[in-house]
Each structure stands twice: as C-alpha cells, then as structure tokens.
Subunit: 155 residues, 2 copies
Amino acid sequence: MSGSTSADARRVAALDRVLEVTVLLGRDMTSSLAASGLTVARTTLLWQLRATGPSTQRALADALGTSARNVTGLVDGLAGAGLVTREPHPTDRRATLVTLTARAEELLSGMAVEQAQLADQLFGGLSPERLDGLVSALDEVLGRLRPLVPDGAAS
Amino acid sequence: MSGSTSADARRVAALDRVLEVTVLLGRDMTSSLAASGLTVARTTLLWQLRATGPSTQRALADALGTSARNVTGLVDGLAGAGLVTREPHPTDRRATLVTLTARAEELLSGMAVEQAQLADQLFGGLSPERLDGLVSALDEVLGRLRPLVPDGAAS
DNA sequence: TATTGTTATACTCTATAACTATA
DNA sequence: TATAGTTATAGAGTATAACAATA
C-alpha cells in the first residue's frame, strides 16, 4: 500500500506490541479492581461521573457508548455497593441524576494515586525525550484510530 | 517517587494515551469481528490454535489464561460455527485435540491481511525513526508490564 | 491420586424490544 | 410525538465446585 515489505513488517510489529499492551493492561485492571469488588465496566462509569459530575443515565449511556438498559444495570450494582445514588432531576421528572457518594470519591482518589504509580512503573525508565516521542507517536496513532471507531467517550 | 511533578504528569499523560488506544482498539475489534459473527474471546482461541496447531483444551485454557470450563464453552461455539473440530487425542483418551477447519484457516488468513491494513493505517504516517522509537519504547514498557500480570499467553 | 473435560450453578456485561411516566 | 428509564428476554464470557473417565 505505501512502503516496502519490511516497512509493512515493522508496522505489524508495532501493532503486535500495542495489542499485547492492551491485553496485559486489561488483565491488570480487571484483577486489581476485582480486589476492590469492582469491575471495569462499573469503574468506567464511576470515572465518567468523576469527570463530569452528576449525570442522567441517558448521558452516561451516550458517554460510555452503551445502551440505556446496560446503564440501569451498572447503576443498580454501584448503588447496591454504596458508590452512587439516584437523585431526582431538578427539572425533568423522567430523569434521574446519578451521583457519586463520598465513599466513591475517596475510592477514586485512591485509584488515581495507583494509576500514577503504575505510570511511574511503566514509563519511569524512559528518558524525557523517549517519553515525549512515545506520547507524540501515540497521539498521531490516536488521530488515525478515533475516526475508525463508531463513537462514545474515550476516557 | 522518581522524578519531578511535571515528569509524573508526563507519565500519566502517556498512560492516558495507552488506555485510550486500548479502549478504541477493543471497540474496533469487537465491531469488526461481530460482522463475521465472531467474538473477541473466540477469535483469540482461533489465533492461538493457528500459532500452535491442534491443542488440548487444557493447553488452550493455560495459554488463554482462563478456566477449563470457559474453554469448553468457547470450543462449543466455534464447533457449532464450523470453525474447529474436536479430534481424539492419539495417546491420552481423556483429552481432545481442538483443530482448525479449512474454513477457519481461510478466515484467519483474511484477518491477518486486515490486521496488516490496520497497521498500515495507524502507523503509515510515522517515519521509520519514529516507528522504531515507538516499538522500542513499547518493548521497554512491556518488559515492565509483563511481570505485573499473573500469567497467561499474550497473543 | 492426579488430570481432562464435562455438567451444575451463578454473576456480569451486553443488546433489542415493549412499556410507563413524563416532556 | 419523543424521550428517560424500567421490565422482559436472551446470549456471551467468566468463575467455582462436583463429577466421570482416564492416566
């Protein structure tokens, strides 16, 4: 398409690396969240709430790129765990505002710390120049990747 | 832990990029596989078989880092779709050898082509130097990440 | 005794469709 | 009419535990 065979092989090698990182990070997240009784899907919803503040379930469904039905289930689980509450919407009586509890805020703060520690572990060995190169390369890749994917939020 | 605040922020920024790539690639794969009536879990098993040849379900469970019960279900689905068969193990009558069908081999060859095209789309805009820098940075990150994750195969 | 793969059971994530209450 | 969220139903992935057949 646009290069020699060896250049193609290099790109495939890069994609292989990215896919392996994807698989391993997924496992790491799943298992470390399981220790807190959480799942990736529920935690994604919590992070979205932390970023945007109290939200309707419809807004959450759009942001997460999932169905309204699914959000009902996720919120049910989180409410049962005492991490969110359903508050009445001030002007629209059809809607509910999903809101983080204080416990969830604390939990998320702790997770942010853990995430920074993970970032340190993973990237601490790279020089500032290589780290910047990595970030800019990933930004370029993201620019190509985003249009390929239907839509939804990319926390 | 090992750097200034701004260096920490840079590392967190890098992790954010990686996580976004993870999310978007997952969606891209899920939706493109769904078009073929496949799921990510089942396709992972097919790729494993392609890499290693006919395997027992126990070997697949270990390679995929999942339970034997789960492999039974995945193989059931793939067998129903005509993509694998269960053959008797030549020496161990407890075990079965899961084997790709010709149709699965063709399907996987097509997927390999699509993957190369995706690699071209994502990385085609990077100079050879930047691409090499990306790959070597990811290799270093993988070296840190692998020990953090329980175990199992990484595609 | 240990191992392979199955059945039994259960939970989570996900989707579509029908329905209720509101806009 | 359209929208927010629920109930109904269904399928896929995952896990543990108990069990049968075989090593």
